[in-house]
């Protein structure tokens, strides 16, 4: 017990003296705050991108593509095939007995981005009427749905934010055809919010297409994707691959998500190394300035352990303050901000939000503490091993 009291006494005494060394303490705090702010903000980008793609799709839905195609743009499904596929018994039906399947086409349209004004690829999706029953997470936040056979579109709210001229009532010129924006929809922050939707039949004729690219369907029995897959595989008329929707979208986030993560960790590692050297420097000079004090304490009978703990406690406290400040900075700067980038898999824009999660902030604080630990330990050991006589001889 006696030793614990010693530790607490010295640690408390030391922490009270920290404000007397504002310059050095500030360097440690700012250095570590910088590392954590950069780490958290870059990783929150990857997190947001992954989240957007991972939250697209539900396990009770399947997407059908031509075998061998990984993305809708490269896929094609002929009109007659779409008809037969929709009537497969493994696909659910609505109360009127209509199959819950939507054959869709996706073309890429050029629209100017709000931030840069440069034309960017926006996915323009033609959907069949069943699409709204299949994707029941979709809500109109403004306006109304497009009418059948009319050149009207509804726009995802992220697309409306990221691109110019997508307000309700605006007219957009796509491929020689004029479309009116009649509504804005939300769908839980998934990729469809970066898209423009129209009636499939109208789009097929306007863009002179012969058929569709993909089909999204609700499964009759939630977990029974295999039954649908087996039936389609066994049918020689088709060469179609069946994927569970969440898997299809999660795969699209792999490359870019990994790239952003690698960038974030690389940058943070080098910054952390720099910050660690800075922390070492400051803790060494803190120990040097307390030399006489430490010598005196040792001379009157205090052990080495309380001295080590007091130095470590100072380093860790400064690191904690820095880590928290860095996390807060990243949060203020990034939370709720959104970006749009090119999804390599679909060759079109996908918009997403920075996502700062408690787990990410925790990771940032852990990094901060690790830097504090590495920066505090060698000076603490030096402080403990100072010969008393030498320490008392003030420099």
């Amino acid at each position: 017990m006696g030793s614990l009291r010693q530790v607490l006494a010295i640690t408390w005494m030391n922490l009270r003296s920290v404000p007397q060394r504002p310059g050095a303490s500030l360097v440690v705090i700012v250095g570590i705050a910088g590392v954590v702010a950069v780490l958290v903000s870059v990783l929150s980008m990857a997190q947001g991108f992954r989240h957007t793609l991972a939250s697209t799709g539900r396990p009770d839905r399947a997407i059908l593509l031509r075998s061998g195609s990984d993305a809708e743009l490269a896929s094609s499904i002929a009109r007659d095939q779409a008809q037969i596929l929709a009537n497969t018994p493994e696909i659910a039906r609505d109360s009127q007995g209509q199959p819950l399947a939507s054959a869709e086409l996706v073309v890429v349209a050029d629209l100017p981005r709000r931030d840069t004004g440069t034309p960017s690829n926006v996915p323009f999706r033609g959907v069949q009427p069943a699409a709204f029953a299949i994707r029941d997470e979709l809500r109109l936040v403004q306006g109304r749905r497009f009418g059948a056979g009319l050149r009207e579109v509804i726009v995802g709210q992220k697309a409306a934010q990221q691109f110019q001229g997508l307000e309700v009532g605006a007219r957009i010129d796509f491929r020689d055809s004029d479309w009116e924006v009649v509504g804005i929809f939300a769908s839980g922050g998934d990729v469809h919010e970066s898209e423009v939707w129209a009636d499939a039949e109208t789009a097929v004729s306007a863009f002179r297409r012969l058929g569709f690219q993909s089909m999204t369907a609700k499964l009759a029995i939630t977990d029974d994707l295999d039954a649908l897959r087996q039936r389609i595989d066994a049918d020689p008329r088709f060469s179609i691959s069946v994927l569970r929707e969440p898997e299809y979208y999660a795969k699209q986030s792999q490359l870019l998500g990994t790239l952003i993560n690698v960038l974030g960790y690389t940058v943070a590692s080098f910054m952390a190394i720099g910050a660690m050297f800075g922390a070492l420097n400051c803790m060494y000079s803190a120990v040097a300035s307390r030399q006489v004090e430490i010598g005196t304490l040792r001379a009157i009978g205090f052990g080495a352990a309380p001295v080590v703990v007091s130095v470590m406690a100072e380093a860790l406290l400064l690191a904690l303050i820095g880590g928290t400040a860095g996390g807060a900075l990243a949060y203020l700067y990034c939370d709720g901000a959104s970006l749009s980038t090119l999804n390599f898999e679909t060759f079109s824009q996908v918009a997403f939000d920075f996502r700062i999660t408690p787990a990410l902030l925790g990771q940032g604080v852990l990094w901060a503490l690790a830097i504090g630990l590495l920066g505090g330990l060698p000076p603490a050991i030096r402080a403990a091993r100072l010969p008393v006589t030498e320490a008392l001889r003030s420099s």
């Binding site: 500030l26 700012v30 061998g68 440069t118 034309p119 960017s120 910050a275 070492l280």
Partner: protein, 387 residues
């Protein structure tokens, strides 16, 4: 120069402190070198752009096909010297989607259009003379260990053969390289013969992806581009013609502003470094006030003593920054070998070195000037009393 030993002993008076400060400078400049390399690679497309090349794509989207029949019409536009075309194959190799781009081209037209690509004349002739021939960029050949004459089994995500299968096979007849290391990333492609591809494919015969147009006078790029687009206005296949650089910049902008991201990160890094090094420097000068007073007593002028302090800051940053940039250069070599062909090559460009030098100088001034000013105004009597 004769003051170098004095500077050195001043710097390394406290070995640990100086070494630690030096290492944080090294870490910051390694990061600077690496991030700038990423930025340079990202802009490589626009930097390698030839002012005398235009790109003609489908008006509404680059992924829409254009008829091959446009070729002859574009060639007859006044100011056009040569035309080549390419078609996106949508390759899948060893189950990796987009492991590398494959273009179906007219070999002679395409290779003439890009004089910056180097290919052995015999290999070029073999490519032109082999129907199923293909040439591949040197980094891809190294990455996959391909040998000349071997068969390349490549699957297409888009184009089926007449029998409906998506599996294609080509014969490697040559290797592409680039004169300039900065452009080696642009050779990370496989080129195949469009004549064979167009004949063997099931749908979309007689179409291609985009045209590359060489013009006589780069000053007339807009005019010629507009003339090309006018040819096809109101036809089912309208075009959009842009200078190559503009196209590359537009594409880079689609990905987002990488430059701004890198700038923000580096600003955070250098701000932290400034604080850290500045603090160490100020501390070191504070401890040596009496020494500077003695130097002044010995007859060093105010300016000289201030110059000594400033030079110390400069020496410290030059050592750390130079070492950091060198390490970044060395680190990129194995990194490029590991990602060959997956990502463009990363390297520290001369411009990056220049920028590093400018940042070093301004940091040295920011760190060294306040203590230098303090030492300059030092009054000998007071300073000696302080010691």
């Amino acid at each position: 120069m004769k003051f170098l030993p004095l500077l050195w002993s001043g710097l390394f008076r406290k070995k640990t402190r100086t070494l630690l400060t030096l290492l944080s400078v090294v870490a910051a400049f390694i990061l600077f070198g690496l991030l700038q390399a990423v930025r340079v690679a990202f802009d490589a497309g626009a930097d390698a752009a030839d002012a005398k090349r235009l790109l003609t794509t489908a008006r509404y989207s680059i992924i829409d096909p254009l008829p091959l029949a446009h070729l002859g019409k574009i060639e007859r536009v006044p100011g056009v010297v040569a035309v080549a075309y390419a078609n996106w194959f949508g390759a899948k190799y060893q189950d990796q989607s987009n492991a590398f781009p494959v273009f179906a081209v007219d070999p002679a037209r395409y290779l003439d259009m890009y004089p910056e690509f180097r290919i052995d004349p015999a290999q070029r002739a073999a490519f032109e003379g082999t129907r199923t021939g293909a040439v591949a960029g040197v980094r891809l050949v190294r990455r996959f260990g391909w040998k000349l004459g071997q068969k390349l089994p490549i699957r297409s995500e888009i184009h089926a053969q007449r029998n409906g299968g998506l599996d294609w096979e080509f014969e490697l007849t040559g290797v592409l390289d680039a004169e300039d290391p900065a452009q080696q990333g642009n050779t990370d492609v496989v080129l195949i013969n469009n004549a064979y591809f167009d004949e063997a494919r099931r749908t979309g015969k007689g179409s291609t992806g985009w045209y590359i147009v060489r013009i006589a006078d780069s000053g007339r790029a807009r005019e010629v581009g507009a003339a090309i687009d006018r040819l096809f206005a109101n036809s089912p296949d309208e075009t959009k013609t842009q200078p190559e650089k503009e196209f590359a910049l537009g594409f880079a902008k689609q990905i987002g502003d990488i430059g701004a991201l890198v700038t923000r990160i580096l600003a955070a890094v250098f701000f932290t470094l400034l604080l850290l090094t500045g603090n160490a420097m100020a501390q070191s000068v504070r401890e040596r006030i009496p020494e500077f007073a003695i130097l002044k007593t010995l007859g060093f002028s105010d300016g000289k003593v201030a110059g000594l302090v400033l030079s110390e800051a400069l020496l410290l940053l030059l050592l750390g920054g130079g070492l950091g940039m060198l390490l970044a250069t060395l680190m990129l070599r194995p990194l490029n070998a590991a990602t060959g062909g997956k990502f463009p090559p990363l390297f520290v460009s001369p411009a990056t070195w220049g920028l590093a030098a400018a940042i070093l100088l301004s940091l040295a001034l920011a760190i060294g000037l306040p203590p230098a000013w303090r030492v300059r105004r030092l009054r000998i009597v007071d300073a000696l009393r302080g010691g």
